[in-house]
Symmetry: C2
Amino acid sequence: MAYDLWYWPTLPGRGEFVRLALEAAQIPYKDRAREVEDGFSAIPQHLDAMDTRHAFAVPLLETGSESIAQTPNILLFLAQEHGLGPKDAAGIRYLNQLQCDIADMVEEVHAVHHPISTSLYYEDQKDAAKLAAKHFREERIPKYLSHFERVASAHDGDWLLSGEDWSTGDTSIAYLLDGLHFMFPKRMNALAPEYPRLHSIRDQIFALDAIAAYRSSDRCASFGTEGIFRNYPELDAG
Amino acid sequence: MAYDLWYWPTLPGRGEFVRLALEAAQIPYKDRAREVEDGFSAIPQHLDAMDTRHAFAVPLLETGSESIAQTPNILLFLAQEHGLGPKDAAGIRYLNQLQCDIADMVEEVHAVHHPISTSLYYEDQKDAAKLAAKHFREERIPKYLSHFERVASAHDGDWLLSGEDWSTGDTSIAYLLDGLHFMFPKRMNALAPEYPRLHSIRDQIFALDAIAAYRSSDRCASFGTEGIFRNYPELDAG
């Protein structure tokens, strides 16, 4: 049986962490909000109609018997259910910890272009966004990426964690780097030589047959000026 | 053997979610950064010296064989290891989902007084903070608390999830409400009648013998103008 994924239909956003893991592992799923005429209305209606285990927001993955929300929580489920991570409990916990770190960084990325409120337009908080972007580029990007590079460099393997196979941590790192390069091309080009392991992980994930096919399909939404990673040139600098 | 907890010594902050769960369940732990002269230097030194499974930030719980960071990840471990949550996998996942929701709200609380950057003083981003606080008070507090109230109202029990006993979800809700009342007393007093189940959970957790003893001990740090929940009167309104 295919999973039901609920996420905003036209943007990669947080849902892309889930889509990439599903696509890389070739796990069947339906992208439900893309199957209706107005997916942007269907999502709040779907959330509002949940009678038990209410979810605060999408992404939401439904298995038939269970509704699972929160990106790290969905990825933990997929890692455990489909073997997309370490086999031991301590290893799975560490993978979950890194997914929480990535989720925190993504939250901060969104706050760069919406420092005052998510409910105001970017144009109405542009001055604050410029200041926030400077601090994010100069302090937060190196702090987070050094941490992930250190994790990937702590062993001899090719992936984020030791082991032969990619995990959901690698699909998440690939998407995170892709988004950061889209949003901050000057800054990320300047920083790239400092994070060779992370860039190699991104390249290896994107070279997987299943991911190459996904990225050239119409299932894969492009970055734009919606969602988490947005390219506003005035927020970037080398 | 007692766990080692690493968290900033003088403030409740994110560490309080972990301390409250440990104290409520009477699980022995050492608050390591309080045992040295300069805990604020000891924490970055400790993180920097980790040779495997590097942690991005505290809180960090060490078991002797494992170092576990990220608040939801630590609370998931404690729930599973000490039976502080549902016994079934789907129930534990839902508890983890709610802890991620709480962590997201806490991130937004911190961003209210630091909208531009965590590395600037509050005084240097006060104007942006006032705007951020207005949106947070009017839109985000009701949105999050309605969600948690709905979860607690979906069954007949006394706690956040159905069942006889409190879970880590209840200790987290108790601390979250306590912090919000400290930071936004006017706004929270105005809103309190809309969230009776959440306030009842807070009261029941604070009435547990172990928590009453903890809160009157010197192990429990007070709120102030450090950490997540800070009372700046100019950021509050009814």
